[in-house]
Symmetry: C2
Subunit: 233 residues, 2 copies
């Protein structure tokens, strides 16, 4: 039976065997139609991930802020004709920290079977290595940009940490990473710990946990490097 | 430089190539010491995952509720002598929904480098396929057993769903899965949606999203099957 298949993509320029099971490559080659955010990077990722069919025969369906929602309604039509459709992320897991869940929600409403495949999640790799509670955690996306909103969010997250023992995870636009770390180091309670996890799965990988104020001294250079921030008591 | 390496384990009886990158096997064979929850299953998992050294030469360090904390303090000593130490989960990702973070927290305090490896996370696979918000989500572990605590928890989680657009994820002791689904179907608001994700990565995999009350009709048989529950609006 045809399915919607969710394909993770390596998070950075690594050999795909470092972060993807070989099974994913087998399944990848059963698909001729892919829903993607950006066609150019999707072509490149297909090649890197060992897609063996001529890329010119592939149908790419774009899913981004320019896509007309009436078009999206037809994206899963090939499945009714017995053909698998792939959903590929730009990096990491599809439908996690990206807008792919529009498609999976549509598949669920239509009773279409979904096959999620294993791959790298920078959120989970960071959580595993942080030393923080992995039995209760939340991913909060991006913090507000304005200082007042940011301060209010930190106050709420610190409440969850102390009241619910819940690790709090977030990300930032990569060119604002250094400012965010400085802001966290200054505005969190001194006893709150911060884990900074950067360039995960890459040779330059950096994962370190310190108390909030300690990050004011010798902070790492995070500018434009993909980084996950975690806080806990 | 020697490191603490975090090894995911397949979640069920599948070919490890379905859910583990081949790189993990290479790294596995650099370790002679493993911190594990249960030695018997760890031996079996090592074999399944392609460990090629004689298992009798392996040092297993047990980490479970019977372990003396003064012993744990020495578990990372081999790293100072230049030897990698592996931390293996019973199934899925180490330090996620298991007590492994005692070890990673100790490594972070000692400045030991940690290498988290990619593998199957039933939490993330379920989230990907649920159709729910993957840009904001929380894993809450196990719900309280008593009905009053359970009802209070559901009320709090529904608040997060509506106020913060945050997908709520939890698990249950596998023999209580059916009761939990019935409880959720009855006590959540009728417009709240429930995703049930069961036997992930296995041939019997089942992932389905429906409105709360719809689960009262034809519920799946979840008894003793590993299941993730997700709720969202």
């Amino acid at each position: 039976m045809a399915r919607l298949i969710l394909f993770p993509v390596p998070i950075g320029a690594t050999d795909p065997n470092t972060t993807l099971p070989s099974y994913n490559r087998e399944v990848l080659n059963t698909c001729r139609t892919f829903i993607v955010e950006n066609i150019r990077t999707a072509r490149r990722n297909l090649k890197t991930m060992g897609y063996t069919h001529p890329i010119d025969d592939v149908t790419f369906l774009e899913l981004n802020e320019h896509t007309d929602t009436t078009e999206i309604a037809h994206y899963l039509d090939p499945i009714a004709q017995g053909e698998n459709v792939g959903l590929m992320s730009e990096a990491g897991l599809p439908c996690v920290a990206d807008p792919g869940s529009i498609i999976t929600a549509m598949a669920q409403r239509s009773g279409i079977e979904i096959l999620p495949l294993v791959g790298p999640s920078s959120i989970m790799l960071a959580l595993m290595a942080s030393g923080f509670n992995g039995q209760n955690f939340a991913f909060n996306g991006y913090p507000p940009i304005d200082e007042r909103g940011r301060t209010a969010m930190l106050r709420t997250l610190e409440q969850h940490i102390h009241r619910d023992n819940q690790t709090q995870i977030f990300i930032e636009a990569p060119y604002r990473n250094d400012q965010l770390l400085h802001f966290l180091a200054l505005h969190l309670q001194p006893i709150t710990r911060i884990c900074v996890a950067c360039d995960l799965t890459l040779p330059t990988q950096y994962i370190r946990t310190r108390m909030a104020r300690q990050w004011l001294h010798d902070p790492p250079e995070l500018h434009k490097r993909p980084t996950i921030f975690l806080i806990y008591k």
